[in-house]
Amino acid sequence: MRRVVHRQRAFRRPLTDAEKARYLAQFDPALTGGQFKTGVELTIRSLLMSPSFLFRSELGKDDGKGTFTLTPYETASALSYLFWGTMPDAALFASAASGALANKSEIEAQARRLLADPRGRGEVARFFYEWLESPRAYVATKDQVAFPKLFATATSLDAIRSAMREEQDDFVTHVVFDSTKHFDELFNATYTFANADLAAYYGLPTAGVGATTQKVELGADSTRGGLLTLGMFLFGHARTTASSPTQRGHMIRASLLCDDIPPPPANVDTATAPATPGNTTRQQILAVTANGVCPTCHQLQDPIGFGLEGFDGAAVARTMDNGEAVDASGAINGLTGPQGEALTFNGARQLSQLVAANPRARGCFTTNYYRFARGFDAKGVDTCAVNKLKNDLVGSDLALPELFVKLALQDSFTKRRSAEVVEP
């Protein structure tokens, strides 16, 4: 049992001598009645109740300058939870034990190792899953009459959603780890990932597509391609019976371009009237938002969402909506191109190209990854850290894995400041 108590996994660091003595005391025969098993149980209960198990320490060592530097073990946890979402492995513990993690070169080496591991791919996929608000696809209710393909069998809906999740995870990790690794491919890819069921559901060619998810080329004339046309994105940001240019446009404006759009006034009925024959979703939206204060905000989001009208509320490509031809033209109002030109487009492909090329989108991506990595919105000195990363992604078109590693190499990753320190 002494070996168990001496292990470092529970606290993600070696136990102090005082802690070892404390836990070994749980084997006192007065407590266990001489039962070894009881001693093990009490020790485990004690370990699991300890604040050192329940909280991740980032206390650091006082530098004497108002800053605190994480210990190697704390750095190991910071790295493993960032790139794997779980505790350090033996190699990382060994690196911490040797003190090597006090050096940035070792931090970089470990960061690259963690990212290259399958668990690193999983955590990157999780970032995209959260950034794109993908859980919405699981709670979105879809109407059986409007989307009969989803209900072809009792398990169709679950199977399609599951395939969409694989599509997204495989797509983003392919871009980040296997392909160009660059930001623009996230939007401009001419391929997706699908299994035979999803390919058939999307109306893609199914020849050569098997039961497992694989890369599927879309062709130059396909409206599908990139993050904005992933199934989970289109499916989750849509209504029960129809698409939603407002939801999709708001998502792009707020989460991909980091613009704040206020919620609708409290006395506005946001329920859209049932579709009437001869009116496309676009026409209905335009009709109900044309007056009063509505256009003020809607013109910032709906014209973006119109670009995805080539897809219905269940992520299937379409050319007709409610009996009328789809109009997928739109604009990113309020922003201009490098020459001051208006950002107008026609269809998802052109919309994706505009987003990919916009510096604001790259900055927003960086901001969101920083939030994901650090668990808070950057402010104060942390704003500088985010801005440095933004410059790398916007100015140098840094490969995405390099961006992730750079974050771990910033001083702010291993240093903490005291509340008593006053910033100049």
């Binding site: 993600r12 407590l31 329940l54």
Partner: protein
């Protein structure tokens, strides 16, 4: 500019771990108990609404007749207040309704059961107790339900109810005289103290390294340890309490890797799990372990069937215009009839459970009168008319000693001012928050401003509604 020394401590575990810890915080609260008869409350949630005209009495006043769905409560009609014309404001659909029943609005950050618990922990070892009957299992028996359903500490932090009745029993009654013998009880107490001492020592060591700005991050943890410590040293802990006869069928929970597959989550075990959780609630109140219990029967997406009723669960049955197993789409007339029959069978089953619980409290003596006399039972579901949050089956049972005017039916429809803004614009039904205000008043919970109350034009005096 002050810079927070942030991120020195982070939650180390997964969401499940955090939830478990939170639950521990809520479950382990300890203070001495008053010897006098105390007021108590039980929030009794049943899922997915009902056909309102088959529940609410047509008559108002003291002479009224129960309907098909409320008929199981006939033996307790004289001890009940049926209330028609109450809306679950501000919801328009039932997602999150089992949480909304405990708050008046989003402004109410903490649900009333936990708010009461914070106050009551001064007089009972567990400020409040959250018990669930298959309330976290979702369709297919795998994921946790996606919507807010549970008591909440904040808009971002929920307290998961304890679903395993054997674990709940052990937590609530551990340390009491359970007939294990003095020596065994002393050893168990010593073990608990030893575990707690180790955690305390770790906390002291950690606290020495923490700046003031960081200490608040472990406030809840520190409070939980202090409460546990108090409970272990409290004379009340060793109070004799008649726990004989618990778990008469010998229900067991064999260890499985996936808790969703645990015995307490099996559909055919729902009756016995329900019986045990209700018994724990009764014993907790009777033994002074707590004064506020939340009993959640499933959740708003309840997919687990009751054996013998149908195979899709009450949520599916409540979507009766859709085909079997579907929530949308057009069912045939025969399918609609079958779903309505199943829905009604579910609702009768829940009403039978409520009646059973009432009888259990009636049969339990309290310091003065019965447990039922001193306990407010607040029943609700989240839906009423036509899958909307109108005419929700709120009702009070018990609390006769607290001034509740039992044995009547009230209909508030058209009797209160209309809402003037969405989502209930124009509707003349009582906001359920008025009922929460009554509970707060009777439990002695001080309310500031509009806490748990409706701040719109329906600024009624809840104490003048004829309920108390």
């Amino acid at each position: 500019m002050k810079i927070d020394r942030r991120n020195m401590l982070r939650g180390a575990g997964s969401a499940a771990l955090a939830a478990s810890l939170t639950q521990m915080f809520q479950m382990h609260r300890s203070r001495a108990q008053s010897a006098a008869a105390t007021t108590k409350v039980v929030f009794f949630y049943t899922p997915c609404g009902l056909q309102v005209d088959l529940w609410h009495p047509s008559e108002t006043g003291k002479t009224f007749n129960l309907k098909q769905l409320s008929a199981p409560l006939e033996p307790h009609k004289a001890d009940s207040i049926f209330m028609d014309g109450v809306a679950m404001y501000p919801l328009t659909d039932h997602q999150g309704g089992s949480q909304q029943m405990l708050v008046g609005d989003d402004k109410d950050v903490k649900t009333m059961d936990l708010e009461l618990g914070d106050m009551l922990k001064a007089t009972s070892p567990f400020g409040s107790l959250q018990l669930g009957i298959q309330c976290r299992i979702s369709k297919g028996g795998t994921p946790t339900v996606p919507h807010p359903h549970f008591s909440r500490v904040s808009l971002a932090e929920e307290v998961f109810p304890e679903e395993n009745p054997l674990v709940a029993y052990d937590r609530v009654f551990s340390g009491l005289d359970t007939g294990m013998g003095a020596a065994a009880a002393a050893l168990q107490l010593a073990q608990k103290k030893s575990v707690l001492d180790a955690a305390n020592a770790d906390l002291v060591s950690l606290s020495a390294s923490l700046p003031t700005s960081e200490k608040r991050k472990i406030d809840s943890y520190t409070t939980a340890l202090r409460d546990m410590e108090h409970r272990l040293s409290d004379p009340q802990t060793m109070m004799a309490c008649n726990l004989a006869g618990f778990n008469p069928t010998g229900f067991t929970v064999p260890q499985v890797a996936d808790s969703n597959q645990a015995a307490y989550n099996q559909a055919d075990k729902r009756p016995v799990v329900g019986d045990l959780q209700m018994e724990i609630a009764r014993l907790s109140l009777a033994c002074g372990r707590t004064r506020a219990v939340t009993l959640l029967w499933e959740h708003t997406n309840a997919h687990h069937p009751i054996v013998g009723v149908d195979k899709f669960g009450v949520h599916d049955a409540s979507h009766y215009t859709a085909p079997p197993g579907q929530l949308t789409g057009n069912a045939t007339p025969e399918q609609i009839d079958a779903k309505l029959t199943a829905w009604n069978a579910y609702r009768v089953w829940y009403a039978q459970r409520l009646a059973q619980f009432v009888q259990m409290l009636k049969d339990t003596p309290d310091t003065v009168g019965s447990l039922f006399d001193n306990t407010i039972i607040f029943h609700c579901s989240e839906l009423g008319l036509g899958h909307r949050t109108e005419r929700v089956p709120f009702m009070f049972l018990g609390g006769g000693a607290l001034g509740f005017k039992l044995g009547q039916a009230i209909n508030f429809t058209g009797q209160v001012p209309a809402y003037t803004k969405d989502p209930h614009n124009g509707l003349q039904q009582l906001a359920h928050s008025s009922l929460l205000t009554i509970i707060a008043n009777k439990m002695g919970l001080p309310l500031k401003g509009t806490r748990y109350g409706y701040s719109g034009p329906q600024a009624l005096d809840p104490m003048s509604l004829g309920i108390v």
